[in-house]
Every structure is written in C-alpha cells, then in structure tokens.
Symmetry: C2
Subunit: 335 residues, 2 copies
C-alpha cells in the first residue's frame, strides 16, 4: 500500500455542511521509518462533534485546518511495522480517519491495539468504542442512574442513545426514548425501551413526557438539546441529573438559539446539569469494554449501524447525521 | 400581648408586586394551650423567594393563600409558654413572620431556640441565618470551591452575596463581585472583594469578566440569572461549578425570558450547573453557625443590613428587594 485517498476540508461550512465543503485527494504513503507503522484503515467513523471542528473558533478540540485531511476515529490493520509492540495483522484504533491509510508513529496517531473480545472490528467505533463509552459514562458516572429510576434519552436510536437505553434497562430502569419517525421508534421497542416518543409526530414534548412518566424523570441523557431539554426540565423530579453530551440541534445553527426559558426550574427542583466529554473519562474504557462484551455475549446489548462504502462517500455519510438518514452508528467501510 | 397585626396577601401580583396586593389586619392571640407557646416577634425577614409563593403555581413550597397572613423567617421572644423546653425570655426563630406575634405549637411554627453566640438577634435572619447558610452551602458544598480558585458572585452586596464573597476570601479565593451602582461596589471593596463590577455601568458583562479574570472563573454563585449567567458561561474554565440559587431577575417576569443562548458551552467545558434550596441542607446549620460566629468574632465576616420599622411597612420593605433600594439583608423591626 503506497497510495491513500483522503478527504480534506476545502471550505468552512456555514450552517448545514455541503459536499462542496470537502475535496478528495490522493497522497503517497512512505514506508514506516524507525518507530513508525503503516496502517490500512478498515472503517472510519463520522460523528456530530466533527461539525464543531469544521468551524474556526475556540473549543475543546482545535479546528480542522483548511486544505488538510480531517481526523476522526478509525479502525485499521497494521500492514508494515517498524515500531515495537505492533506487528502486521494487528487490529488497531486510531484518530486518523478520513483517509484510506497512513504512515505514522503510534503515539501521533493515538494508536491502540484492539482486544476484539470476539466482536467485529467496527464495533470498536460504536457500541464498544467511543459512542458506547459516552453512553456508559454519561448514564452511570454523570447521570448517577440507580435501579428503578426513570431515564429519558433523546436521539435514542443514535449511536450513543441506543447504548444508553440498553444499559439503563440492564441497570433496572424505566426508559423513555425519543427518536424521529415510526421506524426508529419501532426499533426502540425491540431493544427494550418502555416508551418511545416520535418527536416528529409530537407537538408538545412536555405533554408527551407527562403522559408516559406522570411521576417525572430521574435522569435525562441529552444528546439533542433544544425542545428536548426544555421538556426534560419540566418533567424532572427533584434532584434529577442531566448528562449533557452535545446538542446536535445546535451544530449547524449560525446563530445559537435561545436556551430553555424554564432553566430556572433547576433551582426549585435542585437539578444537576453536567456537561462531559468522553475523552476525560478514558480511564473507564477497560471496565466499559469488559462490561459491554459481556452484555453483548449475553444478548442484552445489541446495535444497529448504517454502513456506506468508500472514502469518496465519507462527506455524504457525514451529512446524513444531520438529515436523519442514518440509523444507529454511521460508518464508512474503507478496506 | 393579645392583639397582633399581620400582613395578608390580598391579591396575586402580576409582574412587580405593589402595595395594593397586601392588606393589614389585626387578630387576637389566644393564650397558649397545653403544648403551645406565645411569641412576640422582634424582627422579620423579607426575601426574594417570597415572590414565588405569591403566585399560584406548583413549586417547591406551596403558594401563599389569599386572605391569610403570609409566612417567612422571623426572630422573636417567648412571652408565655405551655410547652416543655421553652421559657419566657427565650429567643427563637420561626417561619411565622409577617405578623407581630403568634400562639402556636413549636413544631407548627418551626420554632428553634437560638444560641446567640453573642450576636444580635437579627443576625440569625441574615449573616448567621438562612442567607448565611445559603452562601455557605452554595459556595462550599455545591460549588466545591477550593483555595486559589476564582469565584464570581452576582448580587454580591445582597444578603447572600456578601456572605459568599467573604467566605470565598476566608477560603483563599480570588473574588469578583457584581452589584448595581457605585455605592454597592465601593462596599464590596471594603469586604475584601478583589474586583467589583457595577453591572449598571457595564454594557458587556462578558468583556468585563474577561478583563478582571483573563484566565476565567472556577465557581459562579448565581443569585441573579439572565445576563450574568450567560457571561459566567462564557468566562467559565473547564470543570467550573455553578451554584444556582434563585434568579431575582425572573421573579417578576410574567413570561419567563429565554435562557442563555450559550448554555451549550456547558458540554465542551464540562461544567456542572446545580440548583439547590437551603432547606435541603439544614444538617449543615450547626457547623455553619459555629464557623460564622468564629469568623465574625475574628473580624473576618461582617454584614450590612437595611432595617425598616413596623409591620405596616413590611410590604414596602419587600418591594424594595426588587427596586434595589435595600442594601444587604432587608429586615423589618417589629418589637
């Protein structure tokens, strides 16, 4: 492998990203120098947070540079190694997605050898990877969910949400999941969600929540924001915990929408709203992968994914995240 | 003492409360039955949260009833006792303010004997009472303030805010206080506040905060809401804690204002916003009063109060909370 195609950021999107914001280029991969490896990517991930890196503003991760290949989670296979601890055939995760392959030092690529636990490689970009860990950390460490509690999950059929719902059931909770469309809501029922709310068919989310959870909710897992957050504030029981992990409804708004007008309810109800980023909790990864592999083996944790093929289709796969065309974890198969 | 004048809620205010929402009435006090005491009130408190109880809506405390005496913190003296553990001359706190006296069972009045620690009785409605405990709980238990951290306090010259500022200094913090007007800001400097911001003379609170705290803030003590919360979100350092304890700017708004449009910053900065009500933390009262009495004796904790006289002036004293005419804890002297 000496040539690799990659996707570069051509221009910064305003609002919704479009295909013309990206360009395809081909680079030659040098053989690995001492201390380096060469990796052929098998799958890459597209994630909503990448939209933030396409904008030039201060954030917890630096913006993507114009004219350069973007970055993101990927699973690949070592094809040549000049670095101790890595051998051809090893399956690895890295942060050098958006390209078919790369030659790099392991630490520069954030390379990690994968112990597959019998799972297919792309699971480590989804249910057993960052989205899964996000669900695990947000529900259990930030949301402090306890047995018997009622959990409300927005974007419940998404890569993170579907894992939140299933872990909440495994932990003995009552789960309300919100998703857009009948097909996604039907899927939620198949993974054990007690009450599925189709937000596209619902005018008043607060009323919909009150109907299925008349006593209110104890935990809200927010990966949407907007109306869902306002409804969750209305539905919250005293001392409820809100795990805030990105607000997909806001990524494409050039001007941010006003926050929920009922935020003041957090005082009287003594709510805790806490934002988190999964990379601050990588210390829980080993525990999580062990738990997740066990739950998958026991049939308690399943997943849905949408797979597009070919690096040239990665921009369109990314855009699908915002049009709702994907179902579960959105992946691009590269090799 | 057999007659007591009291203030009743005559009509529910819309927006800013007005004198005509209240009426003065006189009742006869019966002698204490077995298990009861008769109390002559010395001071009563007026507090912003009482505005919430004037509106008929579900909240963490039930609304005041029309045509009946309102309730609130008061300090009084036992004048007759038919209850064990209480003797004439004892100084007590109760929740039966808004009246000159009462006959009641101790538990119905939430009667507590005061160990004065040498402080004047009204201190137990302010610096050594609920406002002081609110400051202590919010800064140390909810805000988890640590030595060397930067603390931003809104309504910093108020009954709660002035105690927050001083405890933050005692605990080794850098303190930024916001208050309305030059006089209040000058007062903040006298109690050790490092940077006083006159929000009435400031167009851009975010810029004002960035100037005095270029590295950002670690703790925000919110007793205002609105613009201050938005500016605090902008100024927050990663993992900052926001103690949310009432939003005085919202009490009189018939329609709630939109929440901060930058709430989504809580995700990337991994902020914790937590609402609290002081009555959930009464278990900390003994620790707090012991600490506060020691700090007062050492000259490290002082306070300002505004005292109006006579039960007939209590409604106007209450209204002053919202027009900013008070300075520090607002009290009404009754006896």
């Amino acid at each position: 492998m000496t040539a690799s195609r990659e996707i570069r950021l051509k221009s910064r999107p305003h609002g919704m990203p479009a295909p013309e914001n990206f360009e395809l280029a081909t680079v030659e991969l040098p053989p690995p120098a001492p201390g380096e490896v060469q990796v052929k990517n098998l799958f890459m991930s597209v994630d909503p947070y990448m939209r933030g890196r396409m904008t030039d503003r201060p954030s917890y991760v630096p913006p993507f540079e114009l004219g350069k290949a973007m970055q993101g989670g990927a699973i690949g296979e070592i094809v040549a190694s000049n670095a101790p601890g890595f051998a051809p055939g090893d399956v690895v995760s890295s942060m050098l997605g958006w390209r078919e392959g790369f030659t790099a030092a392991p630490e520069a690529a954030m390379l990690q050898k994968i112990d597959s636990h019998g799972l297919p490689p792309q699971a480590f970009l989804g249910v057993a990877g960052m989205p899964g860990l996000t669900a695990y950390v947000g529900l259990l460490k930030i949301g402090l969910m306890k047995e018997g509690e009622t959990v409300f999950v927005s974007a419940a059929s998404g890569a993170v949400g579907q894992v939140v719902c299933q872990i909440a059931k495994i932990k003995g909770g009552v789960v309300i999941g919100s998703a857009g469309g009948a097909e996604k809501c039907a899927y939620l029922k198949t993974i054990g969600v007690d009450h599925a709310i189709d937000y596209r068919a619902t005018e008043d989310l607060t009323a919909a929540l009150a109907e299925v959870a008349p006593k209110g909710i104890d935990v809200y897992f927010n990966n949407v924001g907007g109306d869902h957050l306002a409804a969750a504030l209305n539905a919250a029981r005293p001392f409820a915990r809100f795990a805030l992990c990105g607000a997909i409804s806001m990524y494409n708004d050039a001007a941010p929408p006003p926050g929920p007008s009922n935020l003041t309810l957090a005082v009287g109800k003594q709510l805790r709203l806490e934002g988190f980023i999964v990379s601050s909790h990588f210390d829980m990864m080993a525990d999580f992968v062990r738990d997740a592999a066990g739950w998958i083996e026991a049939g308690k944790l399943t997943w849905r994914e949408t797979v597009d093929e070919g690096i040239e289709n990665a921009p369109r796969a990314f855009i699908k995240l915002f049009t709702g065309e994907n179902f579960g974890k959105m992946l691009v198969k590269l090799g």
